[in-house]
């Protein structure tokens, strides 16, 4: 399909069609649209249970213009492994992309086992994790990718504890440990970067992992118009490093031109509101420390990539 630079009407060409029932301002719907249009029509999608699956396929409606299969919550990687194996068996594998996608819960928690198996067996599959940092579809419960300090319905703010007490499971590092040849992160604030990474991933044979930060107005408690701004601030504060790791080596990072204190990123989000009370000061400092550690670890402020 030729690249459409100035679309007349996305109704006609976008592989991900409007009319889906995502919340207004949903980062994940944007992410899914960008991924699919970068991948092109010769793509089979396997989707885990979650917001994306639910808001795009309420019978008889579908927002997908490519073959799409949803099975269960934790088996998308296994189902995708079967799809890939069948394409090989049928001699059709060469020019068809297999993309398995899910949210942070379906990837890092309940889907972790099948993800690991898919990586270990070396299937030619791109796995995309839409990271909105909680189980949003079921009502904003904490997941393994919920960041330190975030309030969710199962890690709420109370008199004994204030928000999530653990950090994000380092899924990119786990993917690298599985010798996945291409591991990358990005956010929906950088559509060109996202598109480039999807295309690069799909040009590589073997398992690939792409984690995309997708702000969730409802779950994060922010104005629907701020989705892109927050996806940018997450990067510019160091909270969410945007990196590429190829064959185990860090090959690129998105540099932070002007470092932003985490407050600017956290303040517009109700899930971090408690950090701006006296009781939350120490936690706020811990969040800043996490951001600083990321900057140090990946050389985000202009030091040479290691």
């Amino acid at each position: 399909m030729p690249k459409v630079i100035a679309p007349r009407n996305p109704k006609e060409w976008s592989l991900f069609t409007a009319g889906h029932t995502a919340c207004a301002g949903c980062g994940q719907s944007l992410g899914a649209r960008l991924v699919l249009n970068a991948a092109g029509p010769r793509t089979i999608l396997v989707n885990a249970t979650g917001c994306l699956e639910v808001f795009t396929t309420r019978f008889p409606s579908s927002a997908w213009r490519v073959p799409w299969l949803h099975s269960l919550f934790e088996n998308a990687s296994a189902v995708g492994s079967g799809v890939e194996a069948a394409l090989k068996a049928l001699g059709k594998a060469d020019d068809v992309n297999v993309i398995v996608q899910g949210g942070d819960g379906g990837t890092a928690d309940i889907g972790f086992g099948s993800l690991s198996g898919m990586f270990e067996r070396g299937h030619n599959i791109l796995y995309v994790c839409y990271d909105n940092e909680a189980y949003m579809n079921t009502g904003i419960q904490r997941s393994g990718l919920t960041p330190f300090g975030a309030s969710t319905t199962t890690s709420p703010v109370g008199s004994e504890t204030q928000g999530n007490t653990t950090g994000k499971k380092d899924l990119p590092a786990i993917a690298v440990a599985h010798r996945v040849p291409y591991v990358a992160t990005t956010t929906v604030a950088y559509p060109k970067d996202l598109e480039k990474k999807v295309k690069k991933a799909l040009s590589i044979k073997g398992p690939k992992y792409l984690q995309i930060l997708v702000p969730c107005p409802l779950g994060w408690g922010h104005d629907t118009a701020l989705t892109i701004r927050l996806a940018r601030l997450a990067v510019q504060s160091g909270i969410f490093p945007v990196i590429e790791v190829e064959n185990g080596k860090l090959t690129s990072v998105m540099r932070i031109a002007r470092k932003v204190p985490v407050d600017e990123y956290l303040k517009p989000q109700a899930r971090f509101r408690h950090l701006f009370t006296p009781a939350g000061r120490e936690e706020l400092e811990q969040v800043q420390a996490i951001a600083d550690a990321n900057i140090e670890r990946f050389g985000l402020m202009g030091a040479a990539a290691r």
């Binding site: 009319g19 029932t21 719907s29 944007l30 579908s62 490519v66 118009a225 989705t227």
Partner: protein
């Protein structure tokens, strides 16, 4: 509509669902200021940014949920969110 085996749904059918009736605010595009830079189109979550006959951009009001992202990202201040009055 009869179920087919496995109960499939078909491509493009989401377009039958006009989510435009969700919104409380609507983006108004000032074509004088619009430079057709495409940023709004890149960032629309639906996607529902269309190109008008004069080459400038508009929102397809059948689907626009009024999130305000386009107005937020427009570098030329060409998009304003106005209250949707019925």
């Amino acid at each position: 509509m009869k179920f087919l085996p496995g109960v499939p749904a078909f491509p493009g059918t989401s377009l039958d669902n006009h989510t435009g009736n969700w919104r409380t605010e609507r983006p108004v595009f000032d074509h004088a200021k619009c430079t057709a830079c495409e940023l709004c189109e890149q960032y629309c979550p639906e996607p529902c940014i269309v190109v008008a006959e004069d080459g400038k951009f508009d929102a397809d009001l059948d689907y626009c949920k009024g999130c305000g992202i386009c107005a937020e990202v427009c570098p030329f201040d060409a998009i304003k969110m106005v209250l949707e009055l019925k």
